[in-house]
Amino acid sequence: MNRMKNFTAGFVRENPVFSLYLGICSTLAVSTTLNNAIGMSVAVIVVLVLSNMIISAIRNITPNEIRIPVYIVIIAALVKIIQMLITAYAPALDTALGTFIPLIVVNCIILGRAEAFASKNNIFDSALDGLGMGIGYMFALLVMSAIRQLLATGVLNFANPFDMTQMIFEIRIIPAEYVISMFSQPVGAFFTFAILAAGVAAYKNHLEAKAKEQEKAEAALKKAAKEA
């Protein structure tokens, strides 16, 4: 049971981006269009699951003093090998993910999860955690890029990742002249992220408040039961 809880934790309660503040660098930089969001999150999920598995496989033999250099070398080698294989054997996939894979090495989620989770749990749990965190990351990135793309260009569109000219769906929601181009620049990224992070915080405060009320109600109940 706690495996399932661990897995879903990554979605909202422990969302890597909004509550752990990991990987903000890439979230802010990449979340300009839906295509970028999908491309980046798929790349992150693949690398995160693989690196979590390798790191948890060698966790018992890694001496603690050189833990960080060893993890970073594994992640960097993994990223570069995936990038080479994709550019050589899947040129179509390369057009979709080619620009995002080198960005991953600079992404703090991978090392963050490697050190916090993969170095303490077995391979299957780490892979699961990688997947959960990756999906949480994709969820955050999709929400961010939908808002920013909508406000910056007034159009929500998604092109076929393998052939960028072919548009799968395109809906114009805001007419062209009411578009706020600030949201495609860094400034918009900060504001969108701030509001979404506040939303998650409000949701968590709400949960805590409800939990506290329940506790108070139970305590009152118990006291009443004792007196009777």
Binding site: E14, Y21, E65, I66, P69, G112
Partner: protein, 102 residues
């Protein structure tokens, strides 16, 4: 292929040696409770608690600068209670225990 492996072996060895020697000669007697608590904390080094990294928070907890573990937002509740219990029970080098709330 072979040159890369040789270059990497030399680089890895040199850095490993450097870290090993540094670790041996630069050993600072750290209160082992701090290391124990750092290991129990999630190690995101996210800085959410205002300290730079989990070792900073662990030190603050051990020398009483901070009274409750709840400052570390991402850690799970059962981890917080475990840390509090550990600190309230194990005496430090001067024999005193600290009073910390989860």
């Amino acid at each position: 292929m072979v040159t890369t492996i040789i270059v990497m072996i030399i680089l890895g060895a040199v850095l490993g040696l450097g870290l090993g020697v540094a670790d041996k000669f630069l050993k600072v007697e750290v209160d082992e409770r701090v290391e124990k608590v750092t290991a129990m904390l999630p190690n995101y080094n996210c800085g959410g608690c205002g300290y730079a990294g989990c070792s900073g928070l662990a030190e603050a907890l051990v020398n009483g600068e901070v009274a409750s573990v709840s400052l570390c937002k991402p850690s799970k509740p059962e981890v917080k209670t475990a840390i509090a219990e550990y600190l309230n029970t194990t005496p430090g080098p001067d024999g005193t225990c600290c009073k910390v709330k989860p």
